[in-house]
Amino acid sequence: MKQPLWMEKLQQIDRKVLYLMLILATAIPLFIKGLVIPVKIEDSTGALFVKLNSLPEGSVVVIQSDWTVSSRGESAGQLEALLRILRSRKSKFVLFSAADPQAPQVARNVIRRVNKEFPDGGFKPWQDYVDLKYFPQAESFASSMASDLRKAWDRTMIDPADGRSKSVFESPVLKGVRRLEDLQLYTIVTASGTPRIVIQRFGSPSRVPIAALVTGVMGPEHMNYFAAGQLIGMSNGLRGVVELETMMVEGVNHRVDGKASKAEYKRFNGSIPPLEGAQYKRGMQYFASLHTALIMLIILVILGNMGIFTKWFRKGDA
């Protein structure tokens, strides 16, 4: 029953060697430019994209940004994609965080970066978005939003026109907003379980559609909420970012010369053309590295199980 030496060795690779291999596997693909890997559109991501693309011009969307630098790998791509789509819809948004005092600053950095892509300078504060900063105590904050937006969002912001700080409800963004029902969409970009709190406290899901852009860890859990209709759309981790980017570049069910689209979302009847000037960004750049890392993981699991496989085969021989 003794295994050959090389096989035993493969089952006892030192941890440190594995770690080094993982560093190489994730770092090298980052230096390759212009890789595009095809991806299929999930229902949840498709629903999110379609919802975003059906927003009327000037609609008001909430972005609750609950992530910090530690989950930049996934959440930054999601927020960037969300902002680009909102810009193409000429939507306005309300930004705040209910999870971490640092989150608003991180989100502001992303907005600044995305704004550079637009020739007109992108989203302007006060005109196109209001920044409500951080609200502690996610639970009670969500409750107070559900009961009265005006009290919950009692913040001021500087109006660039006259340099005075005014109530955010005087801004062009929130002028017509009084209740949750006046908002077109409530999105949560998060690395934790904050969508659950919002769903809990808002009660009836019909008050305002809620969409979540979560990290892969939170994905399976939130899939339940999507299935039960408590979320109208969801983007799951890095893969969700890649899907959003693909839909932005390829459009949804969009056909050129009768050729089938690269991005198909079967549950959606219509078609959406590609977004103007859309490009593959951070999501696709990381996607190749994700492949090499995952392939390495699979190979290692197989190597680890070699002993058991050989036992099976030996049994077969005897």
Binding site: S70, S140, S143, S147, L297, V301
Partner: protein, 305 residues
């Protein structure tokens, strides 16, 4: 009836004082003082009364939320409207109270944080003063803590004094640079580093421990593998190509049901979704049961002795 009065209605309740006035400062400080006196007075509470006091306070704190859950919600009432009747008025008060309760919780938790800081100081200052093993590292910890506190409050005070003028990156002073360096440069990056270190551990744990010894582990592994494969756009695309060979691009072909995506979706919707759901329900139900126990102080170590 509102806890938080509307801005235009300055008729003050007995627990309120005119904002920012001398009266407000005096009343607040005397409230703190009286509270501390009460606390000292409570030192002599008879043992019999101690438990009921704790139970009562716990019950009241939770009772607010239970009441606001049970009380009917007015249909579509917004802040600019008067409530129709007393039922709606009470509901409005309860909703306003939610914010106040949230603040109370936050303040108490905040003050308790000092206990944690005290613990850190005790452990590390003790180690440094007694020159125990690793005392130099304890000193490093204390120094970096002091640096953060100095720079953090320095920046805060500077911002208040300059009315936020220094907040723009062009007009930063020492304090802003210092905070940016310690917080964005160091703390945030170390957070991210520790978070990403998990990837290494996943790899070694999977290699070491993911063995198909039992049926359970085989199923776990198989389910994980399908999920991982389907996450990879390439694997999905490759399997799609194979299926397309078979079907000849006909979307109504039966073989379409066996693509990697279809298999994964089937597993997800038929098996994974209910199993995760059942797990979550166990937690929800446990949460409800524990909520009742804690609210009513039934548990021994929950509220009383």
């Amino acid at each position: 009836m509102n806890f938080l009065p509307l801005a235009q209605a300055p008729s003050l309740q007995f627990f309120q004082a005119p904002g920012g006035s001398q009266q407000a400062y005096i009343m607040a400080l005397s409230a703190i003082f009286v509270g501390l006196l009460l606390m000292v007075a409570m030192f002599n509470t008879p043992i019999k009364l101690r438990r009921p006091i704790i139970i009562l306070l716990t019950f009241l704190a939770g009772g607010f939320y239970v009441l606001s859950w049970l009380w009917p919600l007015p249909l579509g009432l917004d802040a600019s409207q008067k409530p129709l009747n007393s039922v709606e008025a009470v509901s409005l008060t309860l909703q306003d109270g939610t914010t106040v309760m949230g603040k109370i919780l936050q303040v108490i938790q905040g003050i308790l944080l000092f206990l944690g800081v005290y613990s850190v100081l005790r452990v590390h200052a003790g180690r440094f003063l007694k020159r125990q093993k690793d005392w130099a590292f304890s000193l490093v910890l204390l120094c970096s803590m002091m640096a953060m506190i100095t720079v953090g409050y320095g920046e805060y005070i500077d911002n208040v004094r300059s009315a936020g003028v220094h907040a723009n990156a062009e007009s930063w002073t020492f304090w802003q640079y210092g905070k940016d360096f310690l917080f964005d440069g160091m703390l945030q990056n170390m957070d991210a580093a520790m978070f990403s270190i998990i990837a290494f551990f996943i790899l070694s744990a999977a290699y070491r421990a993911f063995r198909i010894r039992s049926i359970e582990s085989t199923i776990l592994l198989a389910s994980a593998l399908i999920m991982i494969l389907a996450l990879m756009g390439l694997a999905e695309y490759g399997s799609g190509q194979v299926i397309e060979r078979i079907t000849g691009g006909d979307p109504s072909h039966f073989a379409n049901n066996f693509s990697l995506t279809s298999i994964r979706l089937w597993i997800r919707d038929t098996l994974q979704a209910p199993s995760i759901r059942a797990l979550e329900w166990g937690i929800f139900i446990g949460g409800l049961a524990m909520g009742i126990r804690l609210w009513l102080s039934l548990e021994r170590s929950g509220g009383g002795s």
